[in-house]
Symmetry: C2
């Protein structure tokens, strides 16, 4: 029989077990923090009805959707447009559908977290993923949602990235009302045109101020040099403390109602973030942040690693006016963020900030003598019952080979129980990490390994 080459499509990140463990630990850390802040888990199906998924979007997203057809439905698409089913491309649209569908069974404010994979038919390219994890939280209000929730989100972000321990980071905030109001002051009142200006401004980091100034004063926008300068001054506002943020916000002068509302919101949010216990070193005003998505209406967030600005935002989101207008007449304002963990993990690994994990297997019971198998199994059972992940060598073979296996597999403790040990009622423990070994009585084995593992946990 001819062999089929074993391969996966480009744009997926498939990991070897020890890398998978490292990835899983990041997922667990995120989940733990989301739960600590009182967010509830949901999972939605990967496959949604196409008309549900594609109500709102258009353009780029629609071109990137993966459609799904069961064998019987193949070809049916040609008759009536797009196939009936598609894979979700984010977790926000499924959340909107979920909240609209289960509205009467949910308590509001509805605080949900969701950590699942999403699918986009991206062109194959380094660092572009067609399948990737998103780890989202959102708080959804019914009719209204206090701006205080906008301050809770950065507290969660802080807690997550503190625990992920991938280096210093800054949560950067802006407010779309402040931006819009500021533009109105400059005579850019048309929302469509504001959006276009915001899109140009969004290129500031990539293209630089000269490019943006030229575009804004050029034919397409026709702004005065003064207006362009004011916009560029605005978007370059940064802060290093809450007091400085307040000063800089005050220095922007007075403005329209929208502007004043945005400023008031930003001030309240900045003050509350501090009350939430987030150190002032870890959040800042950044008036250049606009976020690509059109539906953010108030606070917007980006988070960057101080030492790796090139990685870009590792956690973004904001406040939106109405989550599920396409599915329900209920008014559902919300605020949320998303961590694209697959890309983040890939970038961190690339930058040497995460490495292959130690194995989840703590101990390997070697096989000196197959006749002693009942003893080996009993020892392994004791360890497992104590929560120590243990593998037993069932296949046999030379002891050297068994040690090599443990070493390669990243297992820390190798247990040897030979004739001598059995006669003395002890176990020889080789600690491959410390390159050390000790003898311990069977009765004290669990305790001894627990102590060592607890120390490793503290040191982690």
């Amino acid at each position: 029989m001819a062999l089929t080459p074993a391969r996966t499509m480009p744009g997926v990140l498939e990991l070897l077990p020890l890398d998978q463990i490292a990835f899983q630990r990041m997922l667990d850390t995120i989940r733990r923090n989301y739960e600590r802040f009182g967010f509830l888990p949901i999972e939605t199906p990967v496959i949604e009805y196409s008309d549900v998924l594609l109500t709102k979007t258009g353009g780029e997203t629609e071109r990137q959707v993966y459609f799904v057809q069961s064998t019987g439905a193949l070809g049916a698409a040609e008759k009536g447009g797009v196939p009936e089913l598609a894979l979700r491309f984010d977790l926000t649209v499924p959340l909107a559908r979920y909240v609209a569908e289960h509205e009467h069974d949910l308590s509001f404010p509805f605080r949900r977290y969701q950590m699942q994979r999403v699918y986009r038919g991206e062109r194959a390219q380094r660092g572009r993923f067609r399948e990737f994890y998103q780890c989202d939280i959102d708080v959804i209000g019914k009719d209204s949602l206090s701006v205080r929730y906008d301050a809770e989100i950065p507290a969660v972000i802080y807690s997550v990235f503190r625990d992920l321990a991938i280096g210093p980071f800054t949560i950067q905030l802006n407010n779309r009302k402040l931006m819009r109001g500021y533009f109105e002051n400059l005579g850019i009142a048309d929302p469509e045109r504001q959006m276009l200006v915001l899109r140009e401004v969004d290129k500031l980091d990539k293209r630089g101020p000269d490019y943006v100034r030229d575009t804004l004063t050029g034919e397409a926008f026709g702004l005065s040099a003064e207006a362009a300068a004011k916009i560029l001054g605005f978007v370059q506002v940064r802060s290093t403390s809450v007091a400085e943020a307040f000063d800089k916000l005050d220095a922007l002068g007075t403005g329209s109602d929208t502007f004043e509302q945005g400023r008031a919101e930003l001030k309240e949010v900045l003050g509350l973030i501090r009350d939430f216990g987030v150190p002032e070193t870890h959040f800042a005003l950044n008036l250049s942040i606009a976020r690509g998505l059109d539906y953010y209406t108030g606070t917007v967030y980006e988070t960057t690693l101080n030492d790796h600005p090139g990685i870009g935002s590792i956690c973004s989101g904001g406040r939106y006016e109405n989550l599920a207008g396409q599915y329900t007449k209920s008014h559902l304002p919300g605020v949320g963020i998303s961590i694209g963990l697959t890309r983040l993990y890939w970038q961190l690994r690339d930058a040497g900030l995460v490495s292959t994990a130690e194995s989840t297997v703590d101990a390997l019971v070697t096989q000196m003598d197959a006749a002693q198998m009942p003893t080996y199994l009993a020892v392994a059972g004791e360890l497992r019952n104590a929560g120590i992940a243990t593998e037993v060598v069932l296949e046999g073979g030379k002891l050297g080979k068994q040690f090599k296996y443990a070493d390669r597999a990243g297992i820390r403790f190798v247990l040897v129980i030979g004739e001598d040990e059995i006669a003395k009622g002890v176990v020889t423990v080789k600690d491959l990490r410390r390159e050390d070994q000790f003898e311990v009585s069977r009765a004290d084995l669990v305790k001894a390994l627990r102590v060592e593992l607890a120390q490793a946990e503290i040191g982690r």
Copy 2:
């Protein structure tokens, strides 16, 4: 704008948050036990190349595959047969592809667990799922794999279902060699014909012995009444202890090499399962088990709930000769099992064996006075830092409404910090589960809640 009805396709199980928590706890329990036995995690992409997925299978599976096409590729299938991409329909084929693809980076025996969703284009029907979780473990050897691993698998099954605490269960074992050998003795030597007989025998539980006897002695098989009786006697062998199993296996008489090999394997496996510490009440010989899949070659397992035989097997699998012959020339024997958790959860809930979980949120800090927000946030921060999942009411509103929210959301502790409490430096804790309340100083709050939560953990 016309509203799009918010809905999901039939055959998916989407849960409300408290049910999702119950489901997640089951996933966590399974994961913990898989890890305790030294299995390593992997995850594979949902989307695989169609030619990789469909090398081996045919018939039913192929008809149930969901094909995937990005927008640009729509219609391309009509030109060249099936689309290039498809969703995995199990975790075994992706495992085979994974091991073949990463063979040189893996240590053997390769012990992996994988808990992900799979997709089948089933007809819409109660209890039939188009998207469902499989929780698999497999041990894959290179060239060979000791039959001792066949005994480890039931030890894992025992550990998982003991911890899931869904009632008494029995792991039932058979061996395909024993079966085949027994049939050879009866003159049914052709493997094809054996398979057909096994398929009939597999209907014993559903159709009863008379139906099977009639079929075997009828035109299609033409077996003698004696042969049919022997087969029926064979498949009705059960045991209640290892000693009884040995006796019943010995009573089968002598047979071909294959038969003797099967008997020897079964005896070794049964003895070792006991050495692994599995109580004899929880595993048994059941010579009717054949398993539908054609590729099992030795030990086969099914697990049933003693009090709910109607649910059928909740965990099945077995030993196979060669995992990945379609992708690699390496000989990779293995043994493994799968838990179809979505269906199991659904059945357990249907039978009243799992209920909605308590919330993952332990405490709600109410809002008596918005001016005290910094205090509320500080208290919540202290609780969260101590690992106590805490939500703060940021929206305000009447206290009664806040309590109602906690009650409906399944949050156990409601914390009240009003003027009195602030003056006295205390917190009033209402325990909604015990319908009790107590006052505790701010300094002792964390300790008090920890004690209560630890007691709840023990009682769970």
